[in-house]
């Protein structure tokens, strides 16, 4: 063993000119830290005996420094020349804190100092100490240490090099204080892999269409993607701009058109979907639901799909029905079934569809579709809105175009679910009413019925 460390140190300190701390040595040679400190000392002494100045060291001194001020309660600084009328009287009638003058009588708190010094300053440092309880070599390096802060490099390297070691098993030999009560759970899963493959895998897994599958299947699988179950289900349900969501949502599009008209199995979908599926020639998917009744509209769609301009119209016409159907479906919480079953349609259909879909393939990609989710009574999601855009032409003319854009919306906290509204706070009630008004206008205009609660 004696040879090992001398050799190892010779290589690392002298040849490779690295900074070696006792911790690095203990990890490399698998020895106790205290032993490593002794090894460092031995090497340092031997090398410098042979040729002085080859190896430089830093030391760690532990002890009690000399000029320790008693109980640093800050009273001293206050006293210098300032008018301390305020402080000397108790600031509270029942104050029992010691008055400033009495603080000196208190036992001064014990102060222990742990100081890291370079070997050049060792004597200087030792002089500052009243009593030294411990002194050992912290690190060795071939040349003098320029910036003492570079010693952090040692620990950083240890963290990197020995990251694979399990602390609970291996650190005992290094002399770390062991703790028998440590509670650690094994990680169920690795840090999340890139979302796309996992999402695909998730959907593929759910492939075997199980109409009555548990509604939360996809939710659970999606939840594995992200850290927390709750926000995961939210984000998954929300159809955010995550690229990962594109594959599943695209898959949904193809067969969703049919599902949307199926009774009670309607799924959250959008005009885009209907557009795309309308454009798609292959008959979508093994569907369980009867679609006969809607075949007419399908054909109509397919015919119209070729025409860009009409697509929005068609879409608009359908949207209301779709939306109502969607609402129904959402009430029944069959969301995930749909998506899983829709997974049956591979992306190939989507690829065709994408090329076929004339109008907005890009916007499709970016803004999946209109979804309205209800979570705990709060509606949020994306919807399509006609917005006016004013553009300046080359000739300087202002041209106003109306186009459909997506926006996400969400309602405020639900009014009826207010937990405790004390009768005195009528103000909160009125604000709730104000917030709820946006949604609660049943029988209003056509568009507003979309927002009606149930």
């Amino acid at each position: 063993m004696a040879q090992d460390y001398t050799e190892w140190l010779a290589i690392n300190v002298l040849n490779e000119q690295q900074l070696v701390s006792y911790r690095s040595l203990s990890r490399a040679l698998k020895v106790h830290s205290n032993l490593a400190k002794q090894m460092l000392y031995d090497f340092h002494r031997n090398q410098n005996a042979k040729k002085p100045g080859t190896v430089h060291a830093t030391y760690l001194i532990t002890g009690v420094k000399q000029t320790e001020r008693p109980a640093t309660n800050g009273m001293h600084s206050q006293r210098d020349g300032e008018d301390t009328v305020m402080q000397s009287s108790p600031l509270l009638p029942s104050s029992s804190a010691l008055k400033p003058d009495e603080h000196d009588d208190e036992e001064p708190n014990a102060v222990q100092t742990v100081m890291l010094v370079k070997q050049e300053s060792l004597d200087l440092a030792k002089a500052k100490f009243e009593s030294i309880t411990g002194l050992h070599i912290y690190s060795l390096q071939a040349k003098g240490l320029g910036d003492i802060q570079s010693l952090t490099e040692c620990n950083r390297k240890i963290a990197v090099d020995y990251a694979s070691e399990d602390p609970m098993e291996v650190w005992k030999q290094y002399g770390t204080i062991q703790n028998p009560n440590v509670k650690r759970r094994t990680q169920r899963r690795q840090p999340p892999p890139p979302p796309a493959p996992v999402a695909k895998a998730a959907v593929a897994k759910a492939k075997p269409p199980v109409p009555t599958a548990k509604p939360t299947t996809l939710k659970k699988e999606a939840s594995k993607d992200s850290e927390e179950a709750k926000p995961a289900s939210n984000t998954c349900a929300k159809a955010t701009t995550e690229p990962a969501k594109k594959p599943p949502t695209n898959k949904r599009q193809s067969s969703d058109i049919f599902k949307s008209f199926a009774k009670g199995k309607a799924k959250a979908k959008t005009e885009q979907e209907s557009q795309e599926s309308a454009g798609s020639t292959p008959k979508p998917a093994p569907d369980d639901e009867p679609i006969a009744g809607f075949s007419d509209e399908e054909d109509a769609d397919e015919g119209d799909a070729a025409v860009i301009e009409e697509a929005p119209k068609v879409v608009n016409g359908k949207s209301k029905k779709e939306r109502e159907a969607e609402l129904q479906a959402m009430m029944e919480q069959d969301d995930e079934v749909m998506e899983d079953a829709a997974g049956a349609e591979p992306e190939s259909a989507e690829a065709d569809v994408d090329e076929g879909a004339i109008d907005k393939p890009e916007t499709q990609a970016e803004e999946p579709k209109e979804t309205v989710q209800i979570e705990n009574g709060r509606r949020r999601g994306r919807r399509r809105v006609m917005k006016k855009k004013t553009v300046k032409d080359e000739d300087g003319y202002l041209v106003t175009k109306e186009e459909a854009t997506w926006e996400s919306f969400s309602e405020d906290e639900p009014a009826p679910k207010r937990i405790k509204v004390p009768p005195t706070t009528s103000m909160s009630k009125s604000t709730t009413a104000a917030a709820g008004k946006k949604g609660a206008r049943p029988g209003g205009g056509n568009i507003m019925s979309f927002f009606s609660k149930k």
Binding site: L92, V114, I137, K183, T186, Q187, N376
Partner: protein
């Protein structure tokens, strides 16, 4: 001169097997006092006024009891003080006492209307150190300033408020006292001709009941039907630290490394290592990261706008620097196998900015997360407890109340001449308020049912992080309560670690230094 006993490690390696040390066990029970309900149950549509009313309702009985005992037989000129129920019931010339909430009107307090008005055309004012200049603004006496008051607090008005209304307070007595907005007090005096109430005496609720040691654990055991153990093993020490200030910048982390090695028991000599093995828990009281508050300051926002491009309100994900959290996480993960840690967030940590700050999320600590409780099934306290700020927990039987320093820093701003943080902490204990100035100048959650900042039970240890220097004292209460008050200094600046002995509650300091001369 120095004996060779310390130089044991300055010798060639011996063949003696070094002993492996074991750490003292830590008994720990976190209390959910400051946890807010999650998700949709957390409402923000309440008014803050309810908090004040709730606070008054909770503390009024206590303060009135103390006041009535004190002034029951108080007489001036043959007149005894009578108790008034409402603040507006005081009559001119009549000696009486009444309890209510203190409200301080100070000229330099942040005023949201002024802020909005000025935001657009002048640079942000430098953050105020104190809300009052301390120099007489209303030099003549009666303009709301204390009549004949001492120096300071000129320009500030002190009022007493309750459900019925407000009453302006004057009198020389007030200048000697420590008052901030939100404190519940009882004042005795009389109304003078100006309509101001001249204060002759003042009482505060004082310390609440203090549970005996081990009460939390014994209580839990009793509830669960287990037998209450009378014999407890002797406890070790608790290490308290604050203001680690991990930033992505290298060059200031050597102290952290030294601290790490000390706590792990790898550095220093065997005697100190033995001492380190008696440290049973590490409490980090706020500001572990130096710059990670989610809300950018006004300067940052201006800089971001100036750089051109979109004005990103709030959070610009492109500029996120993961180095600080990564470093902190690695540091914690290195310590956790050996020592349990309780982490309180601070002003600059990535969590909510209003009190009570919620625990830093497990997602910030990918490595240390293994030592935390799984989110779905918390069975007992986690080894690594990321907790709220302020936080209440029971460690080794003693009840600890810790904050990251924001309440004390805010109280500091209210007192123009007082630099004594210990006195402020003592005052907070006597007012029974963990955050007296919330919600006036300290952002907080609008509690609806009751002010969560009211201390229901007196802690044994009250620790406040991120203070400029280490200070400590023992505060005594009328019923024999004793509270060890600790002001924990910022580690980044001072390199000091506090060790609190859990048998005697006496603190000691370990200071880490790097000698950088020569």
């Amino acid at each position: 001169m120095n004996g060779d006993s310390h130089a044991d490690l300055l010798q060639p390696p011996s063949n003696i097997e070094p002993t492996v040390l074991e750490r003292t066990a830590s008994h720990y029970t976190p209390l959910p006092t400051y946890q807010l309900p999650k998700g949709e149950h957390r409402h923000y549509q309440q008014q803050y006024a309810d908090m004040y009313f709730a606070r008054l309702a909770q503390l009024k009985p206590a303060v009135e009891q103390i006041a009535s005992e004190a002034w029951a037989d108080f007489e001036i000129g043959g007149e005894t003080a009578s108790r008034k129920d409402r603040v507006l019931d005081v009559r001119q010339g009549e000696l009486c006492w009444v309890a209510g909430t203190v409200y301080m009107e100070m000229p330099l307090k942040p005023n949201v209307l002024e802020d909005i008005g000025k935001e657009h055309w002048i640079a942000a004012p430098p953050p105020r150190v104190k809300y009052d200049t301390g120099v007489g603004l209303g030099g003549d006496s009666e303009r709301g300033a204390h009549a004949g008051g001492g120096k300071g607090l000129a320009g500030a008005q002190i009022m007493l408020e309750d459900e019925s209304g407000r009453l302006r307070l004057t009198g020389g007595y007030l200048s000697g006292g420590l008052l901030v907005t939100g404190a519940i007090v009882a004042v005795m005096g009389t109304e003078n001709s100006d309509g101001d109430f001249e204060v002759l005496d003042l009482r505060v609720p004082d310390l609440p009941r203090q549970p005996p040691r081990w009460e939390t654990e014994d209580g839990d055991a009793a509830l669960q039907g287990k037998s209450v153990t009378k014999k407890r093993p002797s406890s070790g020490k608790v290490a308290i630290i604050s203001g680690l200030g991990v930033s992505g910048v290298e060059g200031d982390t050597l102290l952290l490394d030294l601290l790490l090695e000390y706590l792990l028991g790898e550095s220093t000599d065997p005697a100190s290592q033995q001492q380190a093995a008696s440290i049973s828990r590490l409490i980090i009281a706020g500001n572990s990261l130096s710059h990670s508050s989610p809300i950018p300051s006004r300067e940052e926002l201006a800089a971001a706008t100036k750089k051109g491009g979109r004005k990103t309100y709030g959070y610009d994900s492109a500029s996120y620097n993961a180095a600080p959290t990564d470093h902190l996480d690695q540091w914690l993960a290195t310590l956790l196998p050996s020592i349990p840690i309780t982490l309180l967030p601070g002003e600059q940590d990535p969590t909510s900015t209003s009190l009570p700050q919620q625990p830093i999320h497990a997602a910030m600590f990918p490595h240390s997360r293994a030592y935390m409780n799984p989110p779905t099934a918390p069975e007992g306290p986690g080894w690594f407890d990321s907790t709220t700020n302020p936080a209440e927990f029971s460690a080794d039987g003693w009840r600890f109340l810790g904050t990251g320093g924001q309440p004390v820093d805010d109280v500091y701003k209210y007192l123009p001449d007082c630099e004594e943080r210990l006195e402020m902490m003592e005052a907070m204990l006597r007012w029974r308020l963990t955050a007296p100035t919330a919600p006036d100048t300290l952002w907080c959650y609008p509690f609806q049912d009751g002010d969560q900042f009211v201390m229901k039970e007196c802690p044994h240890v009250f620790l406040v992080g991120n203070q400029p220097k280490f200070e400590t004292t023992v505060v005594e209460g009328p019923l024999g309560q004793q509270v060890r008050v600790l002001a924990v200094p910022r580690f980044k600046e001072t390199g000091e670690l506090i060790l609190l002995d859990c048998e005697t509650l006496v603190p000691e300091i370990v200071r880490f230094e790097v000698l950088d001369e020569g």
